[in-house]
């Protein structure tokens, strides 16, 4: 096609597109309920993009740069950046999920830190995470040793241990609720379900969470262990090191980095646990603390969800979420700092 014709056509597309977008926006501001205004806006926008794409220009490379970045950054800005900024702001207001009327300063933060249910959630989330980290990593590392030993059919075992991690926490949670309520009570005659006791119910979530996550962490340890150089192992065998010495003095120090990755992955994963918590106990049973009844297995993520969605206290829920973010950010930055330090040492 002739360059001039092409230029005219693309300019026309850009102008028409802009006109469409403006028309759609005018319809919006004038309160028109025309169902076509969304379509006009999108078609207008696409025409502008197409116009720029086909426009013969010396700056074609720059136009491509912008066009290639545009879709991803649009979605990212609208779903992550804007809600994040609003979220931090809403935590300082009396937001009710739709609009806010007053700026309340740090009032939400004070309410939050003086409320029993929240402080209780903080405590059990830390207990849950601590036990979970130890259990998951001990199980995963042991399985990894087993799956890198000289046994036959290692790949099948690895795949089997990995399976629970593929299924969503919601579905697994309901399955385990069944196991705790209907199977274990039959297996141990006369016993009551673990899920009716506040402490045992938390333990139940820990068991399922370790079961679900160990296979995944195991695979990372397997990758680490396979990376230990063969000649180092041979050298230690020549020097007469027995198996335990090889494990503690050679293998474990050599994969120190893998340990850091796995411990932090488990920490972040435990801290964010929601699906299993929601499906297995949904916070139940309640327990009496300081004369007040509170839900005994409500981890932080579930507490945030329930504050906003069930109790309709959006500003308070958002405040809890902001603190949740700060704690996770500190954990992640610590991890980055530790791995950086180790890289320098190596």
């Amino acid at each position: 096609m002739d360059v001039k014709v092409k230029k005219v056509l693309s300019l026309a597309a850009i102008i028409l597109g802009i006109a469409g977008v403006i028309l759609a926006l005018i319809m919006d501001f004038s309160g028109s309920e025309n169902p076509l205004r969304g379509a006009i806006l999108v078609i207008g926008g696409l025409m502008v993009l197409a116009g720029f794409y086909f426009l013969p220009s010396k700056n074609h490379k720059k136009i491509i740069n912008v066009l290639f970045l545009f879709p991803l950054l649009l979605a990212f800005t609208v779903t992550v950046i804007i809600p994040f900024i609003f979220g931090v702001f809403y935590s300082l207001t009396d937001w009710n999920g739709i609009k806010f009327e007053n700026f309340v300063g740090l009032q939400n933060y004070i309410t939050m830190f003086t409320s029993n249910d929240y402080m209780y959630s903080v405590v059990i989330t830390f207990i849950f995470s601590a036990i979970n980290i130890v259990l998951v990593n001990v199980i995963a590392f042991s399985l990894a040793l087993l799956c890198t030993s000289k046994i036959k059919g290692k790949n099948y075992y690895r795949a089997a241990f990995f399976v629970p991690n593929l299924i969503g926490g919601i579905v697994l949670g309901y399955v385990w609720q069944f196991i705790f309520n209907k199977v274990l009570t039959v297996l141990i005659p006369g016993s009551v379900s673990m899920l009716t006791d506040p402490n045992l119910a938390l333990l139940a979530i820990i068991i399922v969470s370790s079961w679900q996550y160990s296979g995944y962490i195991m695979m990372i340890y397997v990758t680490g262990l396979q990376g230990v150089p063969k000649d180092v192992l041979e050298a230690s065998a020549v020097d007469g090191a027995d198996r335990l010495t090889t494990l503690f003095r050679i293998k474990m120090p050599l994969i120190a980095n893998t340990f850091t990755i796995c411990i932090f992955l488990t920490l972040i994963n435990s801290f964010k646990q929601f699906d299993l918590n929601f499906a297995i106990t949904n916070g139940a049973p309640s327990r009496i603390l300081n004369g007040v009844s509170i839900l005994s297995t409500e981890l932080l993520a579930l507490n945030i969800y329930k504050t906003a969605i069930s109790k309709n206290q959006y500003a308070l829920g958002q405040t809890k979420a902001v603190v949740f973010f700060i704690v996770l950010a500190i954990i992640s930055l610590t991890q980055v700092a530790i791995s950086k330090k180790r890289e320098v040492e190596m």
Binding site: A24, D28, N34, H60, I64, F68, L69, P71, L72, L73, A75, T77, T79, V80, P83, F84, F86, G87, Y90, L146, S149, K150, I151, K152, G153, Y156, Y157, A159, F161, N165, L166, I167, G168, I170, V171, Y174, V175, F178, I179, K182, V186, W211, Y216, M219, I220, A237, V238, D239, L265, K272, F274, Y305, G317, Q318, A321, F324, F325, L328, A329, L333
Partner: protein, 303 residues
């Protein structure tokens, strides 16, 4: 001579444990491994056997084998035709959402990553750093304002963003984008620029260079990105439950199971069959693509 010496000392070290005992050791380890596998997979076995029983039998003897396996198909039939579960509809909703999100995520983030790698400016650096930093933002801190942002956006542009496929897919591109760009970024950096330069000199347009030269080279890393995002989106509960609602028109599989459990608290025969039907697609997929799935998910974590 020397080499022989080394070899003989090595043999001494290894032979310290007699051959027979070593074999017994490995045999014991194998038995341990099999026992552990059975223990790990036992919950799935329980789901399977109890999906083939009637409600009363499950309560009395959850550990017995079913009397008639035919009951499994009766239960499946009941679940599939159940108004609250509606298996095929939720299955195809989940499939549609996952597939479209995956195609768009991998396309848009590889495009963005390519621009960010090949243009070293203040801006590209800033954008990349923002994307990386956003990876530590937990979903909880954006989920509530996300709902109000999407609601207002829907009013503003006249396109329904909540309770619609397009809104949910758009959100998945936003949430999955940052990590995918990060993974592609690392990979594209390792591809020599000379390849693209040659194409450009031959008169290829920049976009042609990307789609004809670079995109085919991204295949191995595409697999990683697809698996990581795929497992996440397929199993995700919180985002769709907030955007679509638990009893809305569109239900993904995890939402269908949840709303089903909510309405039939005691009917374990149907709940377990529903769970079985929800797990089945991903287990079948895993049987065929084990290696790629495990490798993809582990690589994603280490990066």
């Amino acid at each position: 001579m020397k080499a022989q010496n080394v070899a003989s000392t090595k043999n001494v070290a290894i032979d310290e444990i007699p051959e027979g005992r070593k074999k017994i050791g490995i045999f014991l380890l194998e038995i341990l491994a099999i026992a552990l596998v059975l223990l790990f997979l036992f919950p799935f076995f329980l789901v399977l056997i109890n999906s083939a029983k009637q409600s009363a039998d499950i309560i009395i003897s959850p550990l017995n084998m079913p009397e008639k396996w035919g009951q499994l198909f009766t239960n499946m039939n009941n679940v599939i035709h159940n108004q609250n579960f509606n298996y095929w509809k939720s299955f195809f909703s989940s499939l549609f959402i996952t597939a479209v999100s995956l195609v768009l995520i991998s396309l848009f983030s590889s495009m963005a990553a390519w621009i960010l790698v090949r243009n070293k400016t203040k801006w590209s650096n800033f954008i990349f750093m923002t994307l990386v930093a956003a990876m530590i933002i937990p979903f909880q801190v954006v989920m509530l304002p996300l709902l109000s942002t999407f609601r207002e956006l829907s009013d503003f542009i006249g396109i329904r963003m909540l309770t619609s496929y397009k809104g949910l897919i758009f959100a998945y591109i936003g949430f999955g984008g940052s990590m995918s760009v990060f993974i592609f970024h690392g990979f594209i950096k390792s591809i020599p620029y000379e390849l693209e330069e040659a194409a450009l000199i031959d008169g290829c347009t920049p976009e042609g260079t990307f789609f004809r030269i670079l995109f085919p080279l991204l295949k191995p890393i595409q697999v990683t990105v697809l698996i990581l995002n795929g497992v996440w989106i397929w199993n995700d509960f919180l985002l769709p439950s907030l955007m679509l609602g638990l009893n809305g028109k569109i239900k993904t599989l995890p939402i269908a199971v949840t709303s089903f459990v909510g309405s039939y608290v005691k009917q374990w025969d149907l709940i377990l069959t529903a769970a079985l039907l929800a797990m089945l697609p991903i287990i079948v997929l895993f049987i065929f693509a084990q290696k790629q799935i495990i490798r993809g998910m582990v690589e994603g974590a280490i990066k």
